[in-house]
Amino acid sequence: MNIIVLVKQVPDTESLLEVDTANATVNTQNVKWIINPYDEYAIEEALQIKEAKGAGSVTVVAVGPDRSEQALRTALAMGADTAVLVNDAAAEGSDALGIAKVLAGVIKEMPYDLVIAGVRAVDDDGYQVPAAVAEYLELPLVTAVIKQELGEGKITCHQLVEGGSLVVEAPLPMLFTAQKGLNEPRYASLPNIMKAKKKPLEKKRLADIGLDAALVGTGSAKVAISALALPPERKGGKMVTGDTPEALAAELVRLLKEEAEVL
């Protein structure tokens, strides 16, 4: 069983984020980078499947600048076998479709039975890349999986939906996205961090996967971010005053109608 996991390096949500309003982007100089937490579920699930089968390989794939290598090294330290990083200036500024084209281009050249991704990336929160990759590779797609059972040539996925879960079956190869609850990602133990140093991490450019640079990057993006702002700061609460419960309730209703305009 050969499994491919899509990995994105994202800012740690605990870092202080600064918005660069002029360029509609986020200042990343002071950001701490981590593996997208949902991708950790994806990696963990791939490792568990491989361990249960007792054979196969787990390959982690990322598109991004040099620093993304650290996310891949972490995945290798968790137990993935090999890593591929596509690092090409031409891919910078790609939208979700652009990134998906690159990922699909890399995956196409590798043998695989299963592709796993995080349900979303906590930075752009677009939910689009895995779906587009599945589309480009013509694979069945199941999103937001919280449990899976592999069968002979097929997989049964429990998909999280509003108020419950849906049980979906798909033939292999397929792509599913990992939702919180799927598993508890392991630590990259210190011995494995040292062993990961010796595991292969292949770096590729667009030309290596035969992808036309004109199809990706800022130029071909179908969406552009026009403005970026932090959420408005929460205003202080307001204490309703009154002598009796009736007066308090009446004042509250008046405020909800006239000031908050929600009633």
């Binding site: 981590i34 090294r73 210190l190 011995p191 961090i193 140093k197």
Partner: protein, 382 residues
């Protein structure tokens, strides 16, 4: 000059921090309160590789550089001093002497379970009447045919009386040198050897979840194969072990200072008095600015000492300086941290209270601050 850590060192910091916050932080207060060493937590620390960090893979070690080891200790200490003590003593004092001076047979026999964190090992140098003056040891070993017979006692020995302790290394007087000075030899004594008793010490002010023991040797018979390395090498082995061990004590000072500083900063930004966060008062802000500056100094000094060790350059002076500076640094930082917490800082519910207590050992263990100053002053030609 490039001050960046390499990829592995960065990953080690990140993973150990994550582990410490998730597995150690939630139980640290309770273990401290109960004065309880936790075998379960020690095993978990073993599973992620916190033992045998600088030992080679041949003995199930992690084959990391010394700086990586120090970063790991720093990250554990950032959350809890007791667990950092178990790790630092386990590596520097337990595994270290066996790894550096043991015969191949001794290494094969003892190191793998120690490096996997399944077993612990004590290092017995200090005696009731021989502390800073380690040369004043009264424990003796006398040859009897192919065996040696050990008599005496040791005190304050970390990791030596747990259920998972496999044995101890002890220094004993084995004769007189031509110079007239005593000859010292280190012996390996396995737990359970007849006449050897390890008793847990209680009522500690600090490191309450770390195991500290008194060792008694009453005609303990060990075969000559239990000599660590060679007869007569004992004193040298112990001193060299302490040079490395001091770096791990420094790491505990640095990590503890970092932890207490972070807690104080967080508290100062949320605690309001006179209508504003207390971090806005210059008297509080300057304390935090001093802490941040001194922590930066301590880290640079300690990492430089480790770099020297990793490059096989002399590092005794830097090691003594780092131990002295980082221990006392944590003293200043925890003092500020409590002050910033006001009355709450004196309550056990706030972790700075534990950090404040745990710090004091660092001025004393593995060579007191005074002893470090003696070492440094000798190195600079006083």
């Amino acid at each position: 000059m490039d001050f960046d850590l390499n990829t592995e060192q960065q990953m080690i910091r990140k993973e150990v921090r994550r582990f410490a916050e998730k597995e150690i932080a939630p139980v640290a207060m309770e273990l401290d309160e109960k004065e309880a060493f936790s075998e379960a937590l020690t095993r978990k620390m073993g599973e992620i590789g916190l033992f045998g960090m600088f030992a080679s893979e041949d003995y199930d070690g992690q084959a990391m550089d010394y700086l990586s080891y120090i970063i790991a200790v720093e990250e554990v200490a950032r959350v809890d001093g007791s667990q950092a003590a178990t790790v630092a003593a386990g590596n520097s004092l337990g595994i270290g002497p066996l790894y550096y001076y043991g015969t191949e047979e001794q290494k094969q026999r003892y190191l793998p379970p120690l490096c996997r964190g399944e077993k612990l090992w004590g290092f017995g140098l200090t005696e009731p009447t021989a502390g800073s003056d380690a040369g004043g040891s009264k424990t003796t070993a006398v040859r009897d045919g192919d065996d040696w017979i050990i008599n005496g006692s040791k005190i304050f020995i970390t990791n030596a009386a747990t259920e998972m302790t496999l044995g101890v290394t002890v220094q004993a007087v084995t004769g007189t040198r031509p110079s007239g000075k005593p000859e010292y030899t280190c012996f390996i004594v396995e737990s359970g050897t007849k006449g050897f008793k390890a008793e847990e010490m209680h009522q500690k002010m600090m490191w309450r979840a770390s195991n500290t023991a008194t060792l008694y040797f009453d005609n303990v018979r060990v075969p000559k194969e239990n000599i660590l390395g060679k007869q007569g090498d004992g004193f040298h082995q112990m001193l060299q072990t302490l040079d490395g061990g001091r770096l791990s004590i420094a790491a505990m000072g640095l990590g503890g200072a970092q932890g207490a500083y972070e807690l104080a900063l967080k508290y100062a930004r949320t605690r309001e008095q006179f209508g504003q966060p207390i971090s806005k008062f210059q008297a509080v802000a300057f304390k935090l600015a001093d802490c941040a500056t001194e922590i930066e100094c301590g880290r640079n000094l300690l990492y430089k000492a480790c770099a020297h060790r990793d490059l096989h350059r002399p590092f005794e002076k830097l090691s003594a300086m780092a131990k002295l500076y980082c221990s006392e640094l944590m003293g200043r930082v925890t003092n500020h941290a409590i002050q910033i917490h006001g009355g709450y800082g004196l309550m056990k519910e706030y972790a700075v209270e534990r950090f404040y207590r745990d710090q004091k050992l660092l001025d004393i263990g593995e060579g007191t601050s005074e002893v470090q100053r003696i070492v440094i002053s000798r190195h600079i030609g006083c």
